[in-house]
């Protein structure tokens, strides 16, 4: 695929960049001002590679007349204008499955970290407070807590399987109940009812028009002063200012957050809170998974060039 002009929107991964450079004709979008780049190279770009935060929006798609495929280095493709791609006949691929385990591992890790206050205890020990102040406070058991999952897709199911080993009852909400597939999980027709019956609420659904702010003030208040919110989806799944306020005044007990509405910016108020665990969108951030994601992007591009079926098409 040496003749494939690929526009990489951001230095998402060193190995991917290296391979694209070696095997394709690589353009790096961040190396020159946007307008200058487009004037010089727009016509040569047949493929765009972005990620969770850098996608092919309508404006970019319009500016690339030769665009044939958008291969996202992510499973969430809320930053890609799918309607525009369909209209133009542009293919879109993502990276499902290969990152499912990592995201589910992190979701459970965050839930334990929040309830058992592991990063907080670690800070306590590092500050010498175990010696000067004595034992750390009691925390809250994770095992047996009711886990509510918004979206029982690949990631949601992987979370469910893990928490079952901790004897956590699993509840879920999504567009349709699938009782025959999940006889052991309890379906709730609304997110508020899910929150009402859960101790830990995990966001694991795709971001689209109907799931934006699916975790509303009402949901968080229903989850309550002992409830814990875990977001490994997208920042906009949660009404962030409402969440910050609810955490600050105790209407929501705690949160483990991997994603935020305006990454890499995290609301200042969260940075000083003791009842939250904050990580910088590391859900799929392991060597193993990023290599697998990169190989999937490369595999999709290759399939496209060879007119073979795409490996993981979205459009």
């Amino acid at each position: 695929m040496e003749s494939l002009g690929v526009l990489l929107l951001y230095p998402v991964n060193a190995y991917l960049e290296q391979e694209l450079d070696r095997r394709c004709r690589l353009y790096r979008f961040w190396e020159s001002p946007r307008e200058e780049f487009l004037r010089a190279h727009a016509g040569a770009v047949r493929a765009v590679v972005g990620n969770a935060n850098y996608g092919a929006d309508a404006a970019l798609i319009d500016a690339l007349p030769a665009l044939e495929i958008v291969a996202s280095f992510s499973v969430g493709i809320d930053r890609v204008d799918l309607a525009k791609c369909r209209e133009r006949g542009i293919r879109v691929t993502n990276t499902p499955d290969v990152l499912t385990d990592d995201v589910a591992d992190l979701a459970v890790g965050l839930a334990i970290a929040v309830l058992r206050r592991i990063p907080q205890a670690d800070r306590y020990v590092r500050a010498g407070l175990w010696k000067s102040r004595g034992d750390y406070t009691l925390t809250t058991r994770f095992s047996g807590k009711r886990v509510g999952i918004i979206g029982l897709g690949r990631i949601g199911q992987a979370v469910a399987r893990r928490v079952e080993a901790f004897d956590c009852p699993v509840n879920y909400h999504q567009r349709t109940e699938q009782k025959s597939v999940y006889p052991n999980y309890t379906y709730y027709p609304t997110v508020v009812e899910l929150a009402s019956n859960s101790d830990v609420l995990v966001v694991a659904c795709p971001l689209n028009a109907s799931t934006r702010h699916i975790v509303s003030r009402e949901v968080m208040e229903t989850l309550g002063p002992k409830g814990v919110l875990i977001n490994v989806g997208r920042g906009p799944h949660v009404d962030e200012p409402e969440m910050v306020a609810a955490l600050a005044d105790g209407r929501l007990g705690g949160a483990g957050l991997d994603v935020f509405e305006d990454e890499p910016n995290v609301p200042e108020a969260l940075l000083g809170m003791d009842n939250v665990v904050l990580v910088p969108h590391v859900g799929s951030g392991t060597y193993e998974t990023r290599k697998a994601m990169a190989d999937l992007v490369l595999g999709n591009l290759e399939a496209h060039v060879l007119s073979k079926p795409l490996l993981t098409p979205v459009v």
Partner: protein
């Protein structure tokens, strides 16, 4: 203290643990409590005074951590003690041989197992370190956090497959981890691969979890050889006892990159933690708290009272270590 004028006197209890007002009230409602920490006396004087009472205490309520050892000297000082109730799965602070000779005799593993899993994910995925990164404002300033390593599918070796070890195994299996273990003898019904010694286990593991009791055979069971076998990509999690691991060797191995990281809830000389660990991003440190949740405290207090009442009414103990 003079016994109550009406009704039978309450049985005596030696209380050798710090605890909260609610629990002390619950104890005082049932027992004549000799509160060691409130007395301010030295241990020998406290024990002698209790033993000198007309109806000396037959029970003692102690705590793990090594501050007070129920050893020969203790039992000799208060020979009336026939039941020692302790908290902490480990009983290394109670000299069981001495207790058995004088005729004196699994619940909380869930919280310890959860904590072990939390530490393991914390080490491999750098959760606490990444949290520090965000709080320090480094995400906008320095960009994405460096890549870490995947938990799912890793080979996990557990030293000690008792109640805690098996709960850890059950949890980590659900993450797709391959579980192996080492213990004194293979466990007949354990569906996991058995290795005959800790070194062989470490050589075959990406993550080594210490979950065994502390006794003569397991003191420093993780030393230099085992750490070297675990290797530069391996991580250690210890929720057992600090002394199960050679702490100096562990610190050196971490400093030299001979192992990749560690999650530690216990240390050789608590609450002292080796200062070299404090600046490391590849370790997670907690304050010997794996068992301490609100739920386990409530369970523990019920259980302590339950065991004491069982003893005094001649019923079988709820959770005996020695046969009644």
């Amino acid at each position: 203290m003079a016994s109550a004028a009406t009704g039978a006197a309450k049985p005596g209890l030696l209380l050798l643990r710090r605890t909260d007002a609610t629990f002390i009230a619950a104890l005082r409602a049932r027992f004549r409590v000799h509160d060691f920490y409130a007395s301010g006396a030295a241990l020998p004087d406290y024990l002698t005074a209790a033993a000198a009472e007309p109806d000396p205490p037959r029970t003692a309520l102690v705590v793990a951590g090594g501050a007070i050892l129920v050893d020969a000297a203790f039992l000799d000082a208060v020979p009336s003690v026939g039941c020692v109730v302790t908290t902490g799965a480990g009983v290394d602070h109670v000299d069981l041989a001495q207790c058995a000779r004088r005729g004196a005799g699994e619940i909380f593993s869930v919280d310890v197992a959860d904590h072990a899993v939390g530490l393991l994910i914390g080490v491999l995925r750098r959760v606490a370190a990444a949290d520090r990164y965000v709080r320090a404002g480094l995400w906008p300033a320095q960009g994405d956090y460096p890549l870490t390593t995947k938990l799912s599918g890793k080979r996990v070796g557990i030293i000690g497959l008792g109640s805690i070890g098996s709960q850890i195994a059950k949890r980590l299996q659900a993450f797709g981890c391959a579980i192996s273990y080492h213990s004194r003898e293979p466990k007949a019904f354990a569906p996991y691969r058995y290795l005959p010694d800790a070194h062989a286990l470490a050589a075959d593991s990406d993550a080594l979890i210490v979950a065994c009791a502390l006794n003569d055979a397991t003191r420093r069971i993780v030393g230099r050889c085992v750490l070297d076998a675990l290797g530069p990509n391996g991580v250690l999690v210890n929720i057992a006892r600090g002394v199960n691991v050679d702490e100096q060797e562990l610190v050196a191995a971490l400093q030299e990159g001979r192992i990749a990281g560690a999650g530690l809830d216990v240390f050789q000389n608590e609450p002292h933690v080796p200062p070299e660990l404090r600046d490391m991003d590849n370790v997670v440190l907690t304050a010997h708290e794996a068992v301490f949740t609100e739920e386990s405290r409530a369970n523990l207090q019920e259980l302590m009272i339950g065991n004491l009442e069982a003893f005094f009414s001649g019923k079988p103990l709820l959770t005996p270590v020695l046969p009644p």
